[in-house]
Amino acid sequence: MSTDTPDAPADDAPSRAELAARVDELETALAEATDDDGDKKMSIIATKGTLDMAYPPLILASTAAAFGYEVTVFHTFWGLDIIHEERSTDLKLSSVGNPNMPVPNVVGALPGMDRVTTKMMEKRIDDNDTASIEELIETSLDMGVEFQACQMTIELMDYDEDDFYDGVTTGVGAATALQDMADADIQLLV
């Protein structure tokens, strides 16, 4: 180390070259940490398959796609029914367990009541021109939303990989979902 400068550093102090290298290193790390590449991501985990619980993930997914987010929706357990081509058209609303329903639980528990409350909800959806589940799925797919069907629960529920809408990704598991969540700006469990 040079000793001809008046304020020569002590022997254990870093050299100017070492400091410069350290500054370069930190500047690179800072640039990476603050790098805004405009690549916004949202990750949703959809676990519920009732008519009312199918809407929020689909509405948020399609809206986020409209905002330019790269969206992944990971469907597991009853959430699989949302992207199941046949079952998605026949999602039901439970007539029990929701105190806001117009029928008391004791009445709601009678046979056939789920069918009645589902019909009521379907009529409201229709009257209000609310998009159908199928329409939201097709629109989301068109906008580049990636729907994933959890492989473990496909097998658990005895579904087939071909049962889902075209464009749905199968053969994925929790590690895929976790990776998506780790990369995402917004993570939601529905």
């Binding site: 809206t63 796609a65 409209a66 021109d129 906008m143």
Partner: protein, 81 residues
């Protein structure tokens, strides 16, 4: 409407409700060239806030005007890039 811009195309989403006005606006904007102005006609009262929020949070679009006086809500969005 002022004459400060010419409407390139009109998107009619009357009758559609959340999230369709925003989602279809985005799809329609994607099909236009930079500089084009999209007119959106909606009956969903939530579209006033939703399209304003979407335009503010989306790069490459500029909300020029919104009219919410009548039964039909009108939105004018320019594609900037």
């Amino acid at each position: 409407m002022s004459a400060a811009y010419d409407i390139t195309e009109t998107l009619d989403v009357k009758g559609a409700s959340c999230p369709m006005p925003v989602v279809k606006t985005k799809a329609a904007i994607d099909d236009l060239d930079p500089g084009a102005v999209l007119e959106v006609l909606a009956t969903d009262s939530g579209s006033m806030s939703d399209i304003e929020g979407w335009a503010a949070g989306t790069e490459g679009v500029e909300l020029l005007d919104q009219e919410g006086d009548g039964d039909v809500f009108k939105h004018y969005v320019r594609k900037t890039e």
